[in-house]
Symmetry: C2
Subunit: 209 residues, 2 copies
DNA sequence: TTGGAACAGTTATAACTTCTAACGTAAGCA
DNA sequence: TGCTTACGTTAGAAGTTATAACTGTTCCAA
């Protein structure tokens, strides 16, 4: 790695760090390249040496966020966590930096298409969920959704999980996201509800019976 | 109502209509007052006679969205719909205009505080859900969440629902939102999944047992 | 060691944005 | 008929993203 490359990647990292700080205070939609440049003591156009556009920077932030979530989930799985354990890892990750979660799962920009490598990372996450789902005992009544998923399993990327596990992973995803996104968006604030307990209860309802 | 007032409210409505169209194509964060003014054949600053700021316009759009959702839910309830019926009404409403849903439940702008009258409308929605929840037979095992909710029921705004019903309304909300928001944000697209069936299944799991 | 190429960062500029200020005009009302 | 009010205009300030053209530095290789 040449000195130039080292310097370059260091500046790119510093830009991203300032970007995250700005997102935390003003939201992703108000992220300003100019403001970042000023914080770093250089003029606005200088940043374009490092990111071709504002969208390019945001795409990289999204990529980093996905990568971080995938790493978190995979690390939990490697440490022997079951599906409930993965849920707690995901929740902890989300609460650690709400805007990072919302950048991935929040309101999408119409017309924005994530590059393929990001789609691959999200598939890694799904694979980890499926791995954990197959280890659970199958639930008794097979639903029409199970039958449907037996025929529509392209999204599982060749994972050999039985339909019940596909169903469970999907429900897991929607329930975790349901509680988490409402919590992070502040829709429970002022309600004085124990969101951890709500999260736990929704999870139990999926995993216990 | 004077002619001036009539004209004024008509122009305001036309501005909002253009705003919704623009949100549908570019997203709420890229909504441009200037572009709306041009579409209406007048200069940018003219719009400030009708809305004090861009935020003011968006707030009104949010208010209208909440009002529309509350009306939809209340109309379904008045027509005798049970909790499942309300869920279908909400889903239909969301699919009818995804951006309207995402404006309410999508990524919030940090620092934005909805005015009180909007909070009141969202309370109307919750009341309708609670009304429907109390009509269902209580589920057998009482959870720790039920106990918690017995002591934390301020958000129910004096509604006499028992803790089990509070629990059910809360779960209803998070599950409906979980499936719906992932669907509207496009996270299922490309997966070739029957999202209606997934929605139905998540709902059944809450209402059937 | 000394060119020369590559690259970082600069200013200037275009085309946007929100929003304020000052002004003319026209509509409504007494 | 005249006065007041409000509408819409242009001008402009202070931002934004992004490109172009220029300067200086750094690195690398002959």
């Amino acid at each position: 790695m040449t000195p130039r490359e080292r310097y370059r990647s260091q500046v790119r990292a510093e830009i991203k760090q300032h970007a995250w700080e700005q997102i935390a205070t003003t939201g992703a939609s108000a992220l300003s390249l100019n403001a970042i440049a000023k914080q770093m003591g250089m003029s606005g156009p200088a940043l374009y040496r490092y990111y071709a556009s504002r969208d390019d920077l945001i795409t990289e932030l999204i990529r980093d966020a996905y990568r971080s979530l995938a790493d978190t989930v995979q690390a939990a799985a490697a440490a022997g966590a079951d599906l409930a354990g993965l849920a707690h890892a995901m929740r902890a990750w989300a609460l650690e930096d709400p805007h990072r979660y919302l950048l991935i799962y929040g309101t999408p920009v119409p017309g924005y298409k994530a590059p393929d490598d990001i789609t691959l990372i999200s598939a890694e996450i799904m694979t980890a969920l499926l791995d954990a789902a197959v280890k659970l005992p199958a639930r008794t009544p097979s639903t029409p959704l199970d039958a449907h998923l037996a025929d529509h399993r392209d999204w599982a990327a060749g994972h050999p999980a039985p339909p019940e596990a596909l169903h469970r992973a999907l429900s897991f995803w929607t329930r975790v996201h349901g509680v988490l996104s409402l919590e992070l968006a502040g829709h429970f604030s002022g309600m004085r509800i124990d969101t951890a307990l709500l999260f736990e209860t929704e999870l139990n309802d999926l995993l216990a019976p």
